[in-house]
Symmetry: C2
Subunit: 110 residues, 2 copies
Amino acid sequence: MTRTYETQQHCPVARSLDVLGDRWTLLVIRDLGLGRTKFGEFLDSLEGISPNLLSDRLKRLEEATIVQRVFYSKHPPRAEYRLTEKGEALRPVIEAIVAWGQRWEPQDAD
Amino acid sequence: MTRTYETQQHCPVARSLDVLGDRWTLLVIRDLGLGRTKFGEFLDSLEGISPNLLSDRLKRLEEATIVQRVFYSKHPPRAEYRLTEKGEALRPVIEAIVAWGQRWEPQDAD
């Protein structure tokens, strides 16, 4: 994987954000953590994302070995997505973001 | 602040990423957490960022009340940036990203 932060290679935050530094990416990881596995489920959940963009993000996550694609039907070919061990290891990141958001970015009143 | 994820308003991850979901933003917060306070310090640290982009990110962080700008000289006007309480509360997020990056995105061998 090409690193954007070539010059900041020594910093683990910069290295991580090379992989995670896109808002949809972390939302896909959140969905996987919540048990969603199918392309269509992500598409429903991530309102506003286009199929192409979702496809690209999933591909990048596969390349980064955060997500694995498992085929469960050959005819027609159907796949589902699962977090790898590296992907599961992002749970504390998501949890820290959840805690911060609940405390500091509360939901707007209706 | 306008929310990008209008439809995902109920999700604290989506709400947080509305504010944080940009790779430079979290790197600026990392720098502030490391004690950097001056515009020039961020510019030196964040190789590849343009002054305009940095200025925009700092402004957004101020609007989100994550960062405050403190003037320490009137003539010429000079400011420094500090994390607010809300910004300091992001420390566990940065720490979780550091831990993940150290374990799962190790530095390339030279």
